[in-house]
Amino acid sequence: MLRRKLMHGLKHLVPLPRSIRWRLFWLLGGLSLVTVLAVLALWLPAEIREIDSFEDELQRVTVRSIQVRIDHFVREIERDLSRATRQFHMAAFEGDQEGVRGVGQWLLQQHPAFEEVGLLDPRGMETFRLSRRVATVEHVLRDHTGTSFFREGLRKPVHWDRVVITETSEPRVTLTMRFASTGGRVPGIAYAVVNLKFLWELMEDLKVSRESRAYVVDGDGRLIASSDRSLVLRQLSFAQRPVVNELIFSKNPLAVPFVHGYYVNELGIEVSATGMWLAGPSWGVFIEQPLATLYASMWRAVWFLLGLSVAGVLVSFAIAHIISRKVAAPITRLRQGAERIALGQLDHRVPAETADEIGDLARQFNRMSEALKASYDGLEEKVAARTRELSMLYTALTPLAGAEAMPERFVYILQKLISVTGADAASIRVIDKQTKAYTYVAHVGFDPQHLAVLPRTMRSGSSDEMIFADGKPIISGDILADNRITRKRQLEFGLKSTAFLPLIVQSEVRGIIHLASRKLGYFTDEKQEYLMMIARLMGIVVENQQLLQSSIKYAEDLNRSNQELEQFAYVASHDLQEPLRMITGYTQLLSKRYKGKLDQSADEFMGFVVDGAKRMQVLINDLLTYSRVGTRGKEVAPTDCALVLDKTLEGLRVAIQESGAVVTAEPLPVVMGDETQLGQLFQNLIGNAIKYRDHEPPAIHVSCQRENEVWRFAVADNGIGIDPQHAERIFQVFQRLHTREEYSGTGIGLAVCKKIVERHGGKIWVESQGVKGATFYFTLPAKLPEVPGVSE
């Protein structure tokens, strides 16, 4: 779980390389990096230890050499004093004062470190003293009874006393040696004061390096010699330093060859120190080196190693880069090749340069793409062939939108179908669902004798029944061997392969398309999709035909019913005239012959009969006019509305004069229209405008405006107006707003106007405030036929 999370995190952090090349690169580079790190991890600590021990060794050697030098000095001093002591003993025994002085002078000449030399008697009294600083011997001989060097000098044959350091003088140490005892009694001791300044010079000479220092401490840890004199003069004690402490307080300092340790020196520098015991005077010799200096070389080594490693890693990554590129390049080329092939560049070839596996792969790849190209070319040919077939089929089926008779059309289709599918014979049969009887819509290519035996009904258990049941085709390459086909009469006429396809019309199997071939195995299931497509197309053709037929029939029915209706209206009104005329005629004849011979009521009654009959006459005439707009209209032709208006006004001249009307008109356009009917339109509208006037003389204005695809005509008057709530009603047949006493008329005029305008493809409406004036608008299509010279 955790690991997966980690991997997930890593993937987010470092996207895993996808290409082989980068994987290879990271593999090789990473490998070298890991190697280098491993080597470093193993080698570096060892190297550090090595350097460390080397430095230790160096310190030991150095301290040893210092020790040797000091030891050599100590031995020299001891040897000189030892020789002088024997001489002193002899001379003193003989009482030769001059001899003693001579020995003393000899000793002082032996080593510059000797500052003073003297002899003490067993009581501690000084018997002789010679000082380098005080040239004479005539001085007060001192009593040394209380001094430590007298006490210790009596006990030990050789004794190095405590080093004396004062702030003003150089450090000194007193060395004593006993005279050889005679008879268990010590005759005296010789002493010498040794200036340790010599040690200082030694220290300075023995500097290990610039930063390292050597120093000497006495048995108490006090500093007695150092390369830095000032330290000594400050009378420092180094007893607290661990290494010093370890050395001087060990039980047997001689058993400890070296001590080694670390401390922070008086300058605050961390140092590494090594010390040795100096046997004679019981001193410790030390050398200290700053750790910084010490480790500097180590760090140099480490940095060098790390630098080397980094360089090595970089070099390995560079190599990895080159190798991965070299290895991956052919693979990349293969991939690019595959991409180009995928894009359809089938001619692309991958260079196979090498003889290795990748080269093999490239060669295989090229062979594959060649094979692909070959199969693709084949495919293209197949697609092209299929496309040709389809376009032929399409060409064959396209002309079916017309209205030719069905059987001829389907014979033509089947001929095309045969040429497209390569079949030898084809038929389409449609089933009657009730009787199961087949009707052959068309057949092509069948032997006449075969035609006679083609199935006339759908038998149960036949292959056809299966097709009607599930809508799936039956395609047989070998009729003889196909047990789905129970009726094998086709074989008698040399047809060996067949396809029965469902003719699906409006999602229902309505018939069978039968294709047959003389070639064995001609129709196979491989062609099923193609054949079914043809079947579907045929179904669509039949469906379209049916739709076309039914829509034609519908339009014809509608037209006929319209015509019948208009004919009815016409004939009805026409035939109604006859009895009406009888009524009016004979009533009039009656009133003419018998007026005054009957009583007055009889005359009035006859008057009503005549009036009613006359009005009915008018109504029938109006109805006739109305129905004639549809039935007796002329063909539309370009008509100049201005001329039509002029003629109309001419016809209305009497009415205009009587009413005192003023008719004004703006320029009017040429439109496609029936001149007579347009005249009727203007006449009705202007006639109405004159008729429905109030006390004022009528003022009528005719105008026209272009509105997009139509002309909008307006006939405005100053008459009695129309209540807007009647704006629709007035255009209906026999709708009147006024009594006959107010305004005469049957209410047909505006209905006729509406019918005329609608017949011309326009609209008519009225706008009026209902009090004063009304404007009738109507539109007529502005489009004129594009025949030059007609509209102009």
């Binding site: 016409y570 026409h574 035939d575 005239q577 006859e578 009406l580 005329r581 009888m582 009016t584 005629g585 004979y586 009039q588 004849l589 003419k592 009959a613 006359k614 006459q617 006739l624 004639r628 007796r632």
Partner: protein
């Protein structure tokens, strides 16, 4: 001769002619077939005299006025008899069709009695009195 299926119309026409004062012999044919039998002197009409003027209605039983008109105008002798189409229709196509078939004139039957009488008087004055026709001796 009046070819008319409506007896009311025939009676009114007769009334009109009686008012004119002239004593015309008026032959009545109630349908187209009868008119043709009479004019072509078939069956019982053998040897009858041809009319001087024919009033022909268009809407007739058996054979229409148009057929009768066509037969008359196809015949070499009969075609000279003036035929007045006397119809209640004022439809333009009826009028033009009648003239195409060589009707001598087309008169819409007036609804008003006075107008009817006036129209008939005019026809009488013109076709029976003013016009000169072949084979007619006045």
């Amino acid at each position: 001769m009046i070819v008319e299926d409506n007896p009311g119309d025939i009676r009114l026409m007769k009334e009109a002619f009686s008012e004119s004062g002239e004593d015309y012999e008026i032959i009545e044919a109630p349908d187209g077939a009868a008119a043709i039998e009479y004019l072509f002197q078939r069956a019982k009409y053998k040897g009858v005299d041809g009319p001087d003027l024919i009033f022909l209605d268009l809407n007739l039983p058996k054979r229409s006025g148009r057929e009768v008109l066509e037969e008359i105008k196809k015949d070499s002798k009969l075609k000279f008899i003036p035929v007045v189409i006397f119809s209640s229709s004022s439809a333009p196509q009826d009028v033009s069709r009648a003239y195409e078939l060589h009707a001598n004139c087309y008169v819409t039957k007036p609804t008003d009695l006075d107008e009817l009488f006036y129209a008939l008087r005019c026809i009488e004055a013109f076709w029976l009195k003013a016009v000169k026709l072949p084979g007619r001796d006045l």
